[in-house]
């Protein structure tokens, strides 16, 4: 029999073990949360997307393989709705990401100073973030209400001296998605402004001072100090906004239910309405799995293209 002796002394080994045990113990709450709220639901979705379950009936659950996935791309009607939703998400992201990021940066620079009025503005810009989406949607429903009594219609009538024809903002195929986009930007900009504010605070004042002494103008300061200093913040904001854009649901559900004619349907909305309205849980699950992979893929691509820099 061969006896193995360890090169690490007994006591030291015990110490390492104790330390890693403490570390692991501390990790447990985090791991439990991730497993319970992320991993289990995800794999359950995958399982659901491969099975048929008629909720509330006693028909036994049965496996259908990739039926629901095939459905997405081959079913003549369903395919149309799915692709339209995907397209809406694409348009939504293409508009919201740059506009919201730019606007948030602009507002952050505007309010990145002291003073009572500035503080008031800062709070005001952030306010929509703390409103629940349900409340926001109710307010915007009133703003975008059809007919001459709708707030936006009435206001536009006043400023155009009555020349403006009242629009059915949420009921018009061409106006519904833009309306939702505007509302989303209004709601989301404040949060990103705060992130940009934090980024601005991280730029050392000596960088501005050095540039000033070198004879830089305001524009130079922005181009050569502020903008590069916000690089990592911007990358973060762009990635997060992209992910949010692909997951847009609340506004659609509360304001238009995907209508008119699927003009505002989003992939997330489609998934939820399939699962809970059409009682087609497997189909809903399949859509959310596909969406997860799309988001994962886009995030990976963005990460490759926009590398953060550590200085």
């Amino acid at each position: 029999m061969v006896t193995l002796t360890s090169p690490v002394p007994q006591r030291r080994r015990r110490k390492i073990w104790t330390e890693s045990r403490v570390g692991l113990t501390m990790l447990i709450p985090g791991i439990v949360l991730i497993v319970v709220f992320m991993l289990i639901p995800f794999f359950y979705s995958v399982w659901l997307s491969l099975h048929v379950e008629i909720v509330g009936s006693n028909i036994p659950i049965r496996s259908v393989g990739l039926l629901f996935y095939r459905h997405l791309f081959t079913d003549p009607i369903f395919r149309g709705i799915f692709l339209k939703s995907l397209e809406n998400n694409g348009i939504f992201a293409l508009v919201v990401v740059p506009v919201q990021t730019g606007l948030a940066m602009f507002l952050a620079i505007l309010v990145n100073r002291n003073g009572a009025f500035v503080k008031f503005c800062r709070t005001t810009f952030f306010l929509p973030v703390v409103f629940p989406m349900v409340l926001t949607s109710l307010i915007w429903k009133a703003i975008l209400a059809p007919g001459p009594a709708g707030m936006l219609n009435a206001a536009l009538r006043v400023v155009t001296f009555g020349h403006f024809t009242p629009q059915y903002w949420l009921g018009n195929v061409h106006l519904a998605l833009p309306s939702i986009i505007v509302l989303s930007i209004w709601q989301g900009t404040g949060f990103q402004m705060v992130i940009f504010l934090a980024g601005l605070q991280g730029i050392p004042s000596s960088h501005y001072e050095a540039a000033l002494i070198d004879g830089a103008s305001r524009w130079h300061l922005f181009r050569d100090v502020t903008l590069p200093g916000l690089r990592n913040t911007t990358i973060f904001v762009v990635m997060v906004t992209t992910i949010f854009s692909l997951q847009v649901f609340d506004q659609v559900y509360l304001l238009t239910q995907g209508g008119p004619l699927n003009a505002t349907s989003s992939v997330m909305y489609l998934a939820v309405s399939q699962a809970y309205v059409a009682n087609n849980v497997g189909q809903g699950a399949a859509i959310s799995v596909v969406l997860s992979f799309i988001i994962l893929l886009l995030s990976l691509i963005q990460r490759q293209v926009l590398r953060e820099r550590v200085d």
Partner: protein, 389 residues
């Protein structure tokens, strides 16, 4: 090339804080002027006022004969080196150095030539295409210097440029900065809290305390003839021993605690004003190197505490039964002040220091006579703290 002149310059902040009190200062063409003082003494504010990064409340600053009070920092044609170097992280070393030239829209060829020249002087040529993030502290420091010299400015301003470097590199960079300054020959205002740095680098040194200029002179003059007790204690390391003492009514003896020192007549010739202090209490200052263990003459007997053997000499801490005069607000950084306080609490009466020859036979706990060179002692007025000459 030009000189920097401050005339009666004051700074009062909006909240009423009086940071700088009526300062007159002149940095001559090509001169290396160091402003030194404890943290919070206003030295950085002074520098930033010259740079135009702070407004001045009163007085006049001129550079090269031109009053610059109302000029923007960019219009003053100065170069400044910051404590954290303030290099642009997204630009290469080459772009960093050439930034000011690009702002001034100089021809590309000339920018390239001047950047290359600066890089050559600072041995940065091989790093030109790298970003500052990849450089060591010393290299970043050089890039910051490069950014300053490439401008060929009217004057250099440096705000504690060496305090982020480790001790060894700091000593090396001191001489590098001096060499470059000599080479460029531009008036330089250099701020530091480190009195050793100030003494070793400055053609002249200005000591600042609580926004008030204490003394401006060469390092040797500050050391030999400090104008007041603050300068005396701030300049020199270890710092001067300061003790309460009483001059005898006939002027032949000085009472320090329970001990008496004979006062030579020559002292009154050197310091005529000392006669006014006959029979009065004053502060006597003795530099650590003016206390020796060998030879005969006047001695002060003290109890030896801690001994630091530095090889070339021994730093002997000892206690006397005389009261020590404490200069407030003397320390460098906040941590140093804290350290000093702790040290004081620990050693109680062991607050005096002598620098004696190495291998002297001295043991902790001994009662040792320290020979005092009276003709090299300093005397200060108790109330004003001013030197008595």
């Amino acid at each position: 090339m030009s000189e920097i002149v401050l005339r009666d310059v004051s700074k009062i902040y909006d909240n009423g804080y009086h940071a700088i009190h009526n300062i007159d200062l002149e940095v001559k063409e090509g001169e290396f002027m160091v402003v030194v003082g404890p943290s919070g003494c206003g030295k950085s504010t002074l520098l930033r006022m010259v740079a135009g990064l702070e407004t001045i409340s009163d007085g006049e600053i001129s550079i090269g004969g031109e009053v610059v009070n109302d000029l923007t920092p960019g219009e003053r044609d100065l170069a400044m080196v910051f404590q954290n170097y303030a290099l642009y992280p997204h630009m290469t070393v080459e772009k960093n150095i050439g930034y000011s030239l690009r702002l001034r829209k100089l021809p590309k060829e000339e920018i390239k030539r001047r950047v290359a020249e600066a890089a050559e002087i600072l041995s940065l040529t091989e790093y030109l295409s790298q970003r500052p993030g990849r450089l060591s502290g010393g290299q970043r420091q050089r890039v910051a210097m490069g950014r300053a010299i490439v401008r060929e400015p009217k004057a250099f301003l440096m705000d504690e440029p060496l305090s982020n470097l480790d001790a060894k590199l700091r000593v090396q960079m001191r001489s590098e900065i001096l060499q470059i300054q000599r080479r460029v020959g531009v008036a330089t205002l250099y701020v530091t809290h480190d009195q050793v740095e100030a003494m070793t680098m400055g053609d002249r040194v200005t000591v600042l305390r609580a926004g008030v200029l204490q003394q401006c002179d060469t390092a040797q003059a500050l050391y030999d003839r400090p104008r007041n007790v603050f300068v005396a204690s701030f300049v020199g390391s270890p710092s001067m021993n300061l003790l309460y003492a009483e001059l005898g009514p006939d002027g032949t003896s000085l009472r320090v605690g329970s001990q008496n020192l004979e006062v030579p007549d020559t002292l009154f010739a050197q310091r005529p004003n000392l006669r006014a202090y006959l029979g009065r209490e004053l502060v006597v200052g003795i530099r650590p190197e003016d206390l020796t263990m060998a030879g005969d003459g006047q001695t002060l007997v003290g109890r030896v505490g801690h001994i630091e053997a530095l090889g070339s000499e021994l730093i002997v801490h000892f206690g006397l039964d005389a009261r020590n005069y404490v200069v407030e607000d003397k320390g460098g950084s906040a941590e140093e002040a804290e350290e000093l306080l702790e040290e004081t609490a620990l050693t109680q009466h062991v607050r005096n220091v002598a620098r004696v020859a190495p291998r002297s036979s001295v043991v902790t706990g001994d009662q040792v006579p320290f020979r005092v060179s009276m003709e090299r002692a300093h005397f200060f007025d108790l109330a004003s703290g001013n030197a008595i000459w």
